[in-house]
Symmetry: C2
Subunit: 410 residues, 2 copies
């Protein structure tokens, strides 16, 4: 069973928006055990769509199209598909009713253009869109399946989850299963991780390992294809065990877990409270720590003492230390951490001071220089880092390093 | 001049990451006046890459490939391209030196695998990568051009900007020009913007307008194709004038400007200082306000007074108000703003209190209920909002609303 995705939309070819639908559908197809070899993006051009569809029908069994189902003249999907399969467009009264109801329920008069969206290729099975006007379509043609879904992700996803998944399972049962397991690491550069798991990266199907570098995070994705869920899980577990043994503490989480999720759970588990004093990260660490629901259990206070006077008056840094060592120094980082810990009465305090850039660097204290301090009852850590990249890159990497220090010392 | 983009990477076909490179390169090609009709994504498979390349070389003049240039066996681009054009892979000593220097400067021993990245197809022009090890390649073949760039966006973008753009301009001069202008609005839902500019959305080439909804932001993108920069700019200006007239104050910025950029510039321009007390947004507003270089001119202090006692002790909220109205109320939002303004001695204070969810809501105070207060010398504003979506969605929309209130009242 081979699938292919065709994303339709000139805005994609102009780079106006990023193609999240392709990523979403690809993940879903993998979960369903369906191989995907091609993703193509084309513009709102009927001729090119027909050409591309023709090629796809030769090499793939399931073709998923997104986009081109709107009410304007630019929306060419239905016409092109009808054209290709040699069927006329027929007015579907149930869909037309749905469209009228959609507008009326939101207090609008149904505009005229929307009959267009109710004209579907003869023989198409329609999936009713509850959050928009364009129906999804499933068209069986010469042993292949063409599936058309609306472009907007919030309309496309429910139609896929409800209608398409049901159809695929009904028609093909549960085929081979593809399962993936993502292992997330922090603190090691990609090249180092690569060296450590080199032999595993060279594994050949049905079980493979991919390595993906993010900013101060490296992911290893184990993918196993098998006939049953159990066999796939077992194949993954064997490889995972080796990776865990080799990467140890550098692994912070799995699959969708974020570094802040892990830190949050640790703090909840150990019933610890935390306060943050972050200068150059500007609130990013606090924001990440409070992204998890339930963070009020551990997060007491975050402070962004940007100006030096604020560091002195509100976070407990001494004017003398500031004068002697400068705002970006181990000493100030430590005083910020001790200061906010004392003021807030929390178990753990983390403080950050640095130069996020692009301006503000000097030869002695360049852009990207950052000090992170952690103070707890029996711990006192100060670390120096040198990051590079844009201002946002440096802020992000700093937040990663700070969260990792909490993770390893809680 | 027709271009085509091929993105290489199994992680893309598995939906592990979203293809931002394709969006980026598409935008850049449009700016260069080069038509783009196809974007294709394939996995780390040499055979399929060769097949896809062969087809592309027939229908396009410039083929841009991203990915597959890393040091592992999964990285198949150089080999496949060399294969296709019938040239051997040759060790490029300058690139090898670059790679060694890259590792040494970061305190690492150059690993063995990286000779692979220095073996390039004979005759390829190399572009030196300053933030990674994979070189960019420009290969001329039978009147066409194959351009290979690394997958990681932060490596790909500079190589494109510096090396590829120069090459394209040198070789083809400036062809037809495609210019775009993005107009960004906040505060109006997409359907409303759509209605207001409906006729403009129906314009046909060479000047068109697209509408793109983000979270609490709607963008209108005017695209004009013409023979000269001047003609394109003029066509855009005509449409822009109409949009500005109709959308007025809802427009906050253009092109790459973010809402926080605009707020920052206004504060700098008027020489105002600001402090933030944000509960449910957890530091996100402070983080956004400090994303702009130079934010130390206006940003004095941010506080994330999560726990109620912290609101009382450190932000000036009265225990009585908290008891009577609850933490999520107009009254507490206002006291937080007044409190932090008074404590920090700033010109403007913004405060936020709300329920980000997914837990914590009640029938009277549901998830998504947020109060934002702004206090300045002669201004005192408190607004209630009801947002929906995930916790991160609610945090983001709240930060948008807060920044917009500052924007409109500074």
């Amino acid at each position: 069973m081979k699938a292919e995705i065709i994303s339709i939309g000139t805005e994609l070819l102009l780079g106006q928006i990023v193609n999240t639908n392709a990523a979403y559908l690809s993940r879903k197809l993998a979960e369903l055990g369906i191989d995907l070899y091609y993703q193509t993006t084309i513009g709102d051009n009927s001729q090119r769509l027909v050409q591309t569809l023709r090629k796809s029908l030769i090499r793939s069994d399931i073709i998923l199209l997104t986009g081109g189902l709107g009410p304007t003249v630019d929306d060419i999907t239905m016409e092109a598909v009808a054209n290709l399969i040699g069927k006329p467009l027929i007015l579907n009264r149930a869909i037309l009713k749905d469209i009228k109801r959609y507008f009326l329920s939101r207090g609008f008069k149904p505009p005229h253009g929307n009959d267009r969206q109710a004209r579907v290729p003869e023989g198409a099975k329609c999936l009713r869109n509850k959050v928009g006007t364009a129906p999804g379509l499933i068209i069986e043609h010469l042993g292949k399946v063409i599936i058309c879904l609306p472009g907007p992700p919030r309309e496309m996803a429910p139609l896929f989850e409800d209608g398409v998944v049901k159809y695929i399972r009904k028609r093909w049962g549960r085929g081979a299963v593809i399962r993936t397991r993502t292992i997330k690491t922090v603190g090691l550069p990609e090249s180092r991780v690569n060296t450590i798991v080199k032999d595993l990266l060279e594994l050949t199907p049905p079980t493979t390992v991919g390595i993906y570098a993010k900013l101060r995070e490296v992911h290893l994705v184990i993918m196993a294809k098998a006939n049953t869920e159990k066999a796939a899980s077992s194949a993954i577990a064997k490889v995972e065990k080796k990776i865990v043994l080799r990467l140890g503490k550098h692994i912070f989480g799995y699959d969708d877990e974020t570094l802040e999720d892990i830190v949050g759970w640790k703090l909840i588990d150990k019933k610890l409270t935390i306060a943050v004093a972050e200068s150059c990260t500007g609130g990013l660490i606090s924001s990440r720590l409070t992204d998890a629901s339930g963070s009020s259990k551990y997060f007491i206070m975050g402070a962004v003492p940007y100006a030096n006077e604020v560091k002195i008056k509100h976070v407990g840094v001494s004017a003398d230390t500031l004068k002697r060592y400068g705002a970006v120094s181990r000493q100030v980082a430590l005083e910020m951490a001790r200061g906010i810990r004392s003021i807030m009465g929390v178990d753990i305090a983390i403080a950050v001071t640095g130069i996020a850039g692009p301006t503000g660097g000097t030869p002695r204290k360049p852009v990207g220089l950052v000090y992170i301090a952690l103070v707890a009852e029996k711990r006192r850590i100060v670390r120096e880092f040198r990051f590079d990249g844009s201002r946002k890159d440096i802020k992000w990497q700093t937040s990663q390093a700070a969260l990792d220090i909490i993770r390893l010392n809680v």
